[in-house]
């Protein structure tokens, strides 16, 4: 699973400039991996619950706030990035899970 995730992240990083990228974020061991993401407007975050427990992606930052709902093990959720800026991603269930996202044009 870890190798698949690493390949997904590597593939995302190879997306050419101007082309929307899909950036996969894992949740194994109740940690977002990677813990920081740099992206462009138009890219998309894909959250893969590769953990053994439920998670719930939640962004509390004003202007970017979203709640993707409960995500069971094995499930994916998507977050299109339509706006530049920086925001934090948390988990409703696990308060110590954090991901920092910076989106540029």
């Amino acid at each position: 699973m870890g190798r698949c995730l690493a390949l997904a992240i590597l593939f995302s990083g190879l997306a050419s400039a101007g082309q929307a990228a899909e950036i996969t974020v894992g949740m194994a061991a109740a940690d977002y991996t990677p813990a920081t993401v740099e992206a462009r407007v138009g890219d998309r975050l894909v959250f893969l619950n590769d953990d053994s427990v439920d998670h719930n992606v939640f962004v509390p930052t004003a202007g970017h706030a979203v709640d993707l709902g409960k995500q069971v093990p094995g499930a994916r959720s998507e977050l299109p990035l339509g706006k530049a800026g920086a925001f934090e991603v948390e988990c409703v269930i696990h308060p110590d899970m954090h991901l920092q996202v910076r989106v540029v044009r």
Binding site: P60, A62, A65, D67, G69, G82, V92, P95
Partner: protein, 175 residues
């Protein structure tokens, strides 16, 4: 099952203020759409809703970053269905959902001194209590057991005075 039973018992107890614990002591904040401050909008794709968050102005004014929120804080989470393009939510120029005028739920959490004393330690959310209204201000559920989900979920944010959004908002705004 232990926690809902505890909540039901708590509903029969009296807090320091003399009011019965539970949703009945949380007043519907009539006129909040004009008198409160809307501080956050949260898109909820899985339910195709947008949630608008409000706070009473006195709480926003006196809240300090990193400190417990002031007594008398009233937070509102208001649910709206979103505009759809077929089955998918329509998005604005920044990719955000567009709320329809319809209000389907009004969830209120209020903090008052001593309100938490009626609840067992493993359930208590500080001095907060919760209520769930319709758009007209009628309480949807008066049974305290229906609020076990509120207490359980907000426990995860004990370090932020049991709020998912407002404590963080104050930190971002004032720190």
């Amino acid at each position: 099952m232990r926690r809902p039973i505890s909540l039901a018992l708590a509903g029969l107890l009296l807090s320091a203020s003399g009011a019965a614990a539970g949703p009945e002591r949380v007043a519907f904040p009539a006129g909040y759409q004009d008198g409160f401050v809307r501080y956050l909008d949260v898109d909820r794709p899985d339910r195709k809703i947008k949630r608008l968050f409000y706070v009473n102005p006195a709480a926003l004014e006196t809240a300090k970053a990193g400190d417990p929120l002031p007594d008398g804080t009233v937070l509102i989470m208001e649910d709206h269905p979103v505009e759809l393009d077929g089955e998918a939510p329509r998005r604005d120029a920044e990719g955000r959902f567009i709320a329809t005028p319809e209000v389907t739920n009004v969830f209120v959490m209020e903090k008052q001194p001593g309100w938490g004393e009626a609840y067992p330690a493993d359930t208590r959310n500080g001095d907060w209590d919760y209520a769930w209204f319709d758009a007209a201000g009628t309480l949807k559920h008066s049974d305290p057991e229906r609020y076990a989900g509120c207490f359980n979920c907000h426990q995860s944010r004990a370090g932020r005075d049991f709020t998912f959004t407002f404590f963080k908002y104050v930190e971002d705004l004032k720190r």
